[in-house]
Amino acid sequence: MAADKVDPIHQFQIHPIIPLHIGGYDVSFTNSSLFMVVTIVLASGFLYMSTASRALIPGRLQSVSEMAYEFVGNMLRDAAGKQGMQFFPLVFSLFMFVLVANLIGLFPYFFTVTSHIIVTFTLAILVIGTVLVYGFAKHGFGFLKLFVPHGVPGYLLPLVVAIEIISFVSRPVSLSVRLFANMLAGHITLKVFSGFVVSLSAFGAVGIAGSVLPLAMAVALSALELLVAFLQAYVFAVLTCMYLNDALHPSH
């Protein structure tokens, strides 16, 4: 398996752990599923344990949970107003899932769930589905005013509405592509630079001396990846809030 060591894509391979086929569909429990379960267990376990004591004066762990709560709460209130707080459970779950998945993906040999577009796309579809269902349930066909900007001359309206609809549909796509691309690109770069260290060291003393450079790069990139993991979870949650705002107030 020497070739696998320098193959930066190998880390994204999905392989079944418990093969399972139901009605012609492959529903095996894969390494991706395993890490999704790990993510959820970690996130909910941490929140449960840290808030179990419910101290008035929070300890260290409890204040981390409270910070996460207030962070997401403020974000949602800013973007979607007080009414938006009814979506707090959704936004908070999404934020925690993406954040924890990104973070545990940084460990060597761990699988990054969010580096697969099908996972991020499913999350984005969930968001946009919520926006559509809630928007139509609350405003009826008034929700369609979202696609009709004010002050557009009548003869331009079909064109503008078509463009607005495409723009709306492209939102889940760009939301998912952004998260997935950031994770994929970051992990590949990290792997490539780490691979340089290994292959350079094979060239004797000069190689070992030279491999300090990619090693330093890999260390710097790891720090950057940590930042990106936080930032992308934040961006995902902020955009979710903005889209929910459209469902709450389609015509401002």
Partner: protein, 130 residues
């Protein structure tokens, strides 16, 4: 006349007796100030109104804008192709979808950069969300 726009000693105020050229200058001056004021609000919108832009690095910004644009084109083409398949109008759905998708991609990029109005807000600039 010592002061062109102030009271001119006759008990009257305003522009009543001024030559027409001065009025036009005043009007232009006022419009220029209005334009500057609205430009200033726009600029703060663009650079400070958006928390996301504040936090994003240059690399993140580039990835964000390109993903917005590509998503617009991809969705436009996808919808056009889908309509073609349903209605059998190939290749017209694809062509129109590509062009509309291109427009939607540009719109996405402008929206993402805070240079144009948000969804459903018409000509109004984005409200700062603080």
């Amino acid at each position: 006349m010592a002061d062109k726009t102030g009271p001119d000693g006759t008990g009257e105020t305003g522009r009543g007796r001024q030559p027409e050229a001065t009025i036009r200058d005043d009007e232009l001056e006022r419009r220029r100030r209005d334009l500057e004021a609205s430009l200033a609000t726009r600029r703060t919108d663009r650079f400070e109104g958006k928390d996301e832009a504040k936090a994003a690095t240059g690399y993140g910004q580039a990835l964000k804008l390109s993903s917005e644009f590509i998503a617009g084109v991809v969705v436009g083409v996808g919808l056009g192709w889908f309509i073609d398949r349903l209605a059998g109008t190939a290749p017209w759905g694809l062509i129109v979808g590509l062009l509309l998708g291109f427009g939607a991609g540009i719109l996405n990029v402008l929206r993402s950069a805070g240079l144009t109005s948000e969804f459903g807000q018409g000509g109004k600039p984005r409200e700062p969300k603080e």
